[in-house]
């Protein structure tokens, strides 16, 4: 049939390397399919594209299966026409395969669960992704993220100094919130019980979740630390199929736990991070794990069960539903623990159907959002998730996965569902009842002689020093609580942090957005805090105002009429007169991040997903302008 066909170097390598990837599980799946069609009904891509058979898992699997049959299975050598054995020859063949394995499947494994023959399509789809990546045939977004994680140790290219700065910032916020200067986010502290590893999305887009986790560790009296390196618990190797990347990333984490002599690695809420770190990583890295690993969901649940933290569920009154992350639930069996925790911290929980192992993918696929070329198809397939969400009537959807947060937010925005997305750590932190502590400011203690006779008072240095926080039982007996003015912190800790105290007086800010309501909201909030505001409705207007007014900050919507916003951003960055300008992206279209972040100019100093509330806006503006100082 193809006797004299010339095969490209890349195609040759794909075939050659396939042989090295075949194991019993993959060969079993490649040979067992009987094309019964059971998988078809289980795939959200098929359900959203009922007239298109190319989305059927069995059809997609055959694109890979034909290579196996042709090159590695005896049936393909003897009766190739019967078993539909075939090969890849050109780069176009590889590109076509790329669009199938990356663009038409999120590797959610729902078809695997529903296959009577036990065919694990996602496993060999991942193998195919890895083969293509190894010869450089990959979506642009996959290349960007892989390179970031290989070389900088995290998926989002967060630099070490920015990571450490964010931890410090969150520590300060928490100290303000709890009015307790002893609250800390320790870094590289040896011999702790817990080393806490996070998703870089938390540093870049959701630092509040770091503060919430720190608040919980603090309330539990946990001995914990975060690492300065090896802190990214996510692993793009799971998505891209690159086992070497998977091993390298996992090893960096494991080695850091050992270096710090922690006894437990706690993984923040992230589906693919949990699966790759706890389940797959030890194999990829060929690493014997001498410590415990657990999801922070279990950690928080344990704290409540053991009475180490107290929660008040009446603080979370909205109707919430729960979305099972495919990696957490279907692949790792984390079903009941998040629900138990949810019921402890929320008053109104409404189950979503189907759920647990049968739940549908959020469309995020543990990395699918990095591939903007497939966004329309991905969002189309999200109709299944949107219907599921709508059916619950919930105001809030909770999930234990950062990818799911982004995937769900995207679907909710696209289908205009108006549902808020949050994680368990946020709800637990909100429900947390902080143990009462007494703050005895010195200026309120003196003059001591007005309280009790001098001779009955201990020397001043033994009285509580300035602003020190002392648990009730440790207050020196000589200081009678009813006689000394005290300030009780905790109990009714305000949820809103001290952003209100911030003044933006003297700051000039350009607000660029084509939605008048959004401009008015942002401008009003910032003006109320003293900033001078200029409004822009297009990229060109933003550019002109930035050049004319030399603002301290520009808030930039990513989707405006006229000139491409990515181009505007690059022009701003390249203007030598605007070197000091800080930019905060505020967008309702997270898939457009690529427009900005893929450019080889300094990235924005801040990023916010719409809808933005006043608190988040002010916190981020404050952070950005503090950097500017």
């Amino acid at each position: 049939m193809s006797q004299k066909k010339e095969r490209s170097q890349k195609a040759e390598k794909v075939i050659e390397r396939m042989g090295q990837k075949l194991n019993r599980q993959i060969v079993g799946s490649l040979t067992a399919c009987v094309h019964c069609g059971m998988c078809t009904e289980s795939c959200h891509y098929v359900l959203a594209n009922p007239g298109d058979p190319t989305y059927a898992p069995a059809y997609k699997a055959d694109k890979i299966r034909k290579l196996f049959k042709r090159h590695y299975d005896w049936t393909g050598r003897v009766i190739p026409w019967w078993v539909k054995a075939d090969s890849v020859w050109t780069e176009e063949d590889l590109e076509e395969l790329k669009d199938t394995v990356f663009g038409k499947c999120t590797n959610c494994r729902r078809c695997t669960l529903n296959c009577p023959m036990g065919v694990d399509y996602a496993t060999f789809n991942r193998m195919a992704r890895g083969l293509l990546v190894s010869v450089g045939v990959q979506p642009e977004g996959v290349a960007v993220v892989s390179k970031d994680q290989w070389e900088l140790g995290n998926q989002m290219g967060v630099l070490k100094e920015d990571y450490l700065d964010t931890l410090e910032w969150m520590e300060e916020e928490l100290q303000d919130e709890l009015e307790d200067p002893s609250v800390a986010i320790p870094v590289d502290k040896s011999d702790c019980t817990v080393m806490y590893a996070i998703n870089p999305r938390e540093v870049k887009y959701d630092p509040r979740s770091i503060a919430d986790a720190a608040k919980i560790f603090h309330a539990a009296g946990e001995s914990w630390t975060m690492p300065s390196e090896g802190w990214d618990q996510t692993n793009f190797g799971l998505f891209s199929g690159d086992d070497a990347l998977g091993g390298s990333v996992a090893r960096r984490l494991y080695e850091k736990v050992i270096e710090l002599n922690a006894s437990r690695l706690v993984i923040s809420e992230c589906g693919h991070g949990y699966r790759s770190t706890r389940c797959e990583g030890p194999n990829w890295a060929a690493f014997d794990i001498p410590f415990e690993m657990e999801s922070s969901v279990l950690t928080m649940l344990r704290y409540i069960r053991e009475g180490r933290i107290k929660v008040d569920k009446s603080r979370n009154t909205q109707l919430v539903t729960f979305h099972d992350s495919c990696n957490n639930a279907r692949s790792c069996g984390l079903f009941e623990e998040p629900r138990e925790l949810l019921n402890l911290v929320c008053e109104n929980f409404q189950e979503m159907y189907p759920n647990r192992a049968e739940n549908y993918c959020c469309t995020g696929g543990g990395g699918a959002m990095s591939m903007s070329e497939y966004t329309p198809n991905r969002l189309k397939s999200g109709v299944v998730k949107a219907d599921q969400l709508k059916e619950t009537g919930a105001e809030v959807v909770v999930t234990s996965c950062h990818n799911c947060v982004d995937g769900l937010s995207d679907v909710i925005r696209h289908y205009e569902l108006g549902i808020e997305v949050t994680q368990l750590v946020n709800l637990v932190a909100n429900a947390l009842v902080i143990e009462e502590k007494i703050v005895v400011p010195v200026e309120e203690v003196v003059p001591v002689e007005e309280v009790v006779p001098v001779e009955e008072v201990v020397p001043v240095e033994e009285v509580v020093p300035v602003e020190e926080v002392v648990p009730v039982e440790e207050v020196p007996v000589e200081v009678a609580v009813e006689e000394v003015p005290v300030e009780v912190a905790g109990g009714e800790v305000p949820e809103v942090v001290s952003a209100d105290a911030m003044s933006l007086a003297g700051r000039v800010i350009v607000v660029a957005d084509d939605e008048p309501d959004q401009v008015e909201f942002l401008a009003t909030v910032l003006e109320d805090h003293g900033a001078t505001i200029y409004r822009a409705a297009t990229g060109d207007e933003a550019l002109e105002l930035a050049r004319r007014e030399k603002p301290d900050l520009l808030t930039l919507d990513l989707h405006m009429p006229g000139r491409d916003v990515g181009e505007v951003f690059e022009m701003l960055r390249e203007d030598p007169e605007l070197e000091e300008l800080k930019v905060c992206v505020i967008t309702g279209r997270p898939e457009l991040r690529k427009l900005i972040y893929d450019r080889s100019v300094r990235p924005p100093e801040g990023y916010l997903d719409k809808p933005v509330d006043e608190e988040r806006l002010l916190l981020n503006v404050r952070k950005i302008l503090e950097l500017a100082d």
Binding site: S134, G136, W150, E151, G247, S248, V601
Partner: protein, 181 residues
């Protein structure tokens, strides 16, 4: 010396020393470091992103006036606000292409030649092509150390060549190759 140096091993070759460390190659104080560049000299992500952020826009601006380069070629730029003085952007082989060892050897030779022309005395390399570009750490180590060793055995202004890797498998591969030199 790099501030965050964790582990190291050294190799003396005539008057020069080759030092193996685990660190971020874009964030160390040297005369120049090598960036495994793309053909179009766009900095891109990974170390390229770190160069763009830490170094400022001047690095890419300067590169925009050069290139594109062929595999094996290299070009020098200033390092902007980075701790290093210069960056040598070297385009090496990638992703299972043919004759990886030969092309990597040429890339290394051109890079060292450029370093000499610029009078660099302390030069840092990443594990060339290992990691994202898929060259096995053992292959990268063998070719790099072969070329570096034979270069330092001749006339050179390089007093120190740092090989700056980012994970244990790379470190182990270079360490064991150095032990055989």
């Amino acid at each position: 010396m790099p501030e965050t140096l964790q582990e190291e091993t050294t190799l003396q070759i005539n008057k020069s020393v080759v030092r193996l460390i685990k660190d971020d190659v874009t964030d160390i104080e040297v005369d120049a470091f090598v960036y495994y560049a793309q053909h179009d000299l766009q900095l891109g992500s990974g170390f390229g992103g770190a160069i763009a952020v830490r170094g400022g826009p001047s690095v890419q601006n300067e590169l925009d006036e050069s290139g594109p380069l062929k595999t094996g070629e290299a070009v020098v730029s200033e390092a902007g606000n980075l701790k290093a003085g210069l960056i040598i952007h070297a385009v090496g082989p990638r992703f299972q292409e043919e004759d990886i060892e030969g092309k990597l050897r040429t890339t290394m030779e051109n890079t060292l030649k450029l370093a000499e022309e610029k009078g660099v005395t302390r030069l840092a390399f990443p594990a060339m092509g290992a990691g994202y570009y898929g060259i096995l750490p053992g292959v990268s180590a063998k070719v790099m150390l072969d070329v570096i060793t034979s270069h330092l055995e001749g006339e050179t202004c390089l007093s120190e060549v740092i090989i700056c890797v980012f994970d244990s498998p790379q470190f182990d591969a270079f360490q064991s190759t150095m032990a055989t030199q």
